[in-house]
Symmetry: C2
Subunit: 573 residues, 2 copies
Amino acid sequence: MLLSKLVCERTKEAPQDAKILSHILLVRAGFIKQVAGGIYTMTTPCQKMSRKIQDIIRQEMDAIDGQEVLFPVVMPREMWESSGRYNSIGSEMVRFKDRCDRDMLLGMTHEEAAVHLANHIVDSYTQLPMMIYQIQTKFRDEARSRGGLIRVREFTMKDAYSFHATQEDLEQYYQRVYDAYYRIFRRIGLNNFIDFKSDTGMMGGSVAHEYMLLTDAGEDSLVLCNHCDYRANMEVADSVLEIADYPQAALEEVFTGDDKTIDEVCNRLGVDRKQTAKAVVYAVKGDSDKVVIAFVRGDLEVNEAKLKKVLRQDVVAYEGGVSSDVVCGNIGPYGLSDKITVVYDTSLRGTHGLVVGANRPQYHYVGFDMAREMGDVEFHDIHKVKAGDKCPICGGDLRIENGIEIGNIFQLGTKYTKAMGMTVHGADGESFNPIMGCYGIGVGRAIASVAQESNDERGLILPMSVAPWQVHICALRMDNEEVATKAWQLYETLTKAGVEVLFDERNVGAGVKFADADLMGMPIRVVVSPKSLACGQIEITLRATKESEMVAYDDCLAKVQAIIAAEMTKYQG
Amino acid sequence: MLLSKLVCERTKEAPQDAKILSHILLVRAGFIKQVAGGIYTMTTPCQKMSRKIQDIIRQEMDAIDGQEVLFPVVMPREMWESSGRYNSIGSEMVRFKDRCDRDMLLGMTHEEAAVHLANHIVDSYTQLPMMIYQIQTKFRDEARSRGGLIRVREFTMKDAYSFHATQEDLEQYYQRVYDAYYRIFRRIGLNNFIDFKSDTGMMGGSVAHEYMLLTDAGEDSLVLCNHCDYRANMEVADSVLEIADYPQAALEEVFTGDDKTIDEVCNRLGVDRKQTAKAVVYAVKGDSDKVVIAFVRGDLEVNEAKLKKVLRQDVVAYEGGVSSDVVCGNIGPYGLSDKITVVYDTSLRGTHGLVVGANRPQYHYVGFDMAREMGDVEFHDIHKVKAGDKCPICGGDLRIENGIEIGNIFQLGTKYTKAMGMTVHGADGESFNPIMGCYGIGVGRAIASVAQESNDERGLILPMSVAPWQVHICALRMDNEEVATKAWQLYETLTKAGVEVLFDERNVGAGVKFADADLMGMPIRVVVSPKSLACGQIEITLRATKESEMVAYDDCLAKVQAIIAAEMTKYQG
């Protein structure tokens, strides 16, 4: 490929809205061009990189007996009504009417289409397990697309669906996918990633894992143990609570005036935050009259993902003015209106001597005893883990990191096969609903992740396994006849030998050429210049390490091939 | 691949609505599964075939200096308003509002996206010519999707866009694409196809060619000369008119009563249809008050595509009841209301002695003389060519055939670059609007075309170049230990050697296995049976020719490789 002809416009300026490094670099290197919010065109180098990543994904999916199919982007309402998701998914799903006034939608995920196909194909348990996957365009109308290819509205995704006769079989297969995902991410050149147990969210099901690239730019909070392997997404992370034991006392109402926050009340009464119970008020989403109050120990925060799972309902921060049933700032468990749904965090189990709201203005209780005052209530883990909390496995210190989700795998159970009436004949002649798993990787986000992890102040540093070209030839002084002849010859020799070469054959200065080469990040740079050719040599530099070596012109192909082979061993999965 | 595990359900029954052979066969062989009208899921064999076709397309596009990019499926209204097509394209384009109430659309074609990208990248004429292409999902809300993958609403398409500094450069490049398309279609195994000059339709521009698979199932009418190379889509086809010379006579009104059709009037007056002028009434689409009357010689039909091109407006059959300006059944050129737009066909140029309507009930004129009565009017070719008409090149007989469009190429001119304000600096320092070409091939339709052309009463006959698997092993009596062992061994030997093998390892009868193999159409069938193994042999049969040969078991790999190599020479482009 000749750089002068390449469909790729490099710039010095980063886009104004770009805050994340991968976004800045992919735009500056000319890999992507925005069309609308969260919608991009991929230029030649980016599409080449995308196809290399897709090929790696295909190989690994095929290696675990996956079969590639292609589901449609546009699906009819009826198919999604049969799973119940036509109504349960909100405005992130695009719906439209076709020319015959039928309701259609754009697929964000394809469980329904997978069951529709599998139901047609699978009659007998002997055909299981079966895994089908596709690599296809999806559209998800994200409220806040951001970060270039990190969070977009339109994206290319590999999504896979497996069907099983037993939970045990699903679990075995799930482990194969789990391992395949590690191979995929290592093969595309990612290093600093790790998997996390995660919330199953709108997908349904129970067990799920997310693969996270650890980076400050990530929008997911992740909990990791400094001492053992424990790790979990904040949404589902546990920690061991240090139980603070305060003296038992009689329940007594005390005047606290206008002090409403935990800190104000603690100051006035001279108690520690741990000796209080905090009330956080929510409303059920779409029904602001349904108030939910979550009680956690005063030093903790509510983990809304956990709370929603307990409630099996979506909730939003309470904004409905002052409800007649609650006295904001003085809310407590004791004497609260029974119209309100209450959830107690495990941090309050067995506590006594607490300060809690008295449910009337300007008063709190002291000496609150959870069991004595409230009786036999249920407790749920609905608090957020904090840095420094103790690991639930080994008791070590936990830390919090940020991450970008680069893939996810779910054990779905029978949610979709049941809802859509997919049954299969079992060995015993009885029919059953197959158990499903589903497994996703976003291709664009994989590109962004590589860019996010692998770069320096000059630009991208692309791994040999996914770089659009393996070699970037910079010919300095193309107006020099020898340079021109030798550079063209080298380009042809390498290309003919199957090496992927980007050839900067422009008649511009060395500074421009090197800046472009560094920005675009191909792994091997070959410099052809009058100076080096005077010694019959060219210069080979590795983008990643900046190591340079002078090599005899005639040895260039052999040297480049040796470097490629050596580099590729790093990306074996 | 094991047949028992294959995601592909074969059936004996054709779908009720399937009339076209390719539709019947692709459904029966389990290659496609309908999701909604004109929307299909592609199963494993179909997706494998699709990817082989895509790879061939990619190779040929890259060979003519194309660069693969990826445009978005979803685009914003503003982009399409800048070309004027947001409003000019009708309900076949899906429009929807995103969650922020912005107007979005699903791309049916990507001229706008291509100009948006090219405008960002190209500053100077030295960067031209440039060709970008993508292989991407498109959605076109067809009123009448039909024929399986022949006419669908959602499809995978290769669309390419080239940019040029001069018309001459476009024409040279257009010829390269023209040739590349022949190579692509030959490589995927099509034989009975041909290119046609075509109407440029909604794409704009002037010169265009369609590649047509000749088949009775086609919905396009094509005009071909029996003697020379002349060929054209009916929409733009010419023929030499035989001029019928009738005696000159005076214009005279005659009573024709309730006779209104050409035949009735001819019968009453004892004249030939060629001695009459036929009036066909249209209304401008979207404005039923604007009446257009097309006059053609009585033995001819109006070619609406040609008429629309003359008018530069879309027209529909006139249905607005009886206009006060026209007397239906008695319409003639002479004395017609001047509110009406009139178009005369070239078949009426210089005619005299004609019978025409008198524009009053129950009367016609005889002795009508075109020049004498109407003066110096313009004539346009707006008639349809008929079988038996004379070729405009050699005068030979023309015939009409049906065809399926399998690809198209357009010289677009500057329509889009002008409208969207794309300018480039020329050699003279002046800036100019680049001249564009665009070039499309539908991947699904290519699959359907192969199925349509290459089959027999038993099923598909897939070309070696695009068949999902090269070899289909039928192991008869898998309950026989020797068969099972030898068949598995053969499967592994072939697969390890890089041969693509579908292995029917089911324990079912020979009839079922052969029927499936014939239906699915892999090029080479290898039968392993107790009988053949008794002689140390297996049987190799070619699906296309039914030629069979007994081959020593140990020679099977070599024989298969030889057949594959020989077959592939047929698909070199």
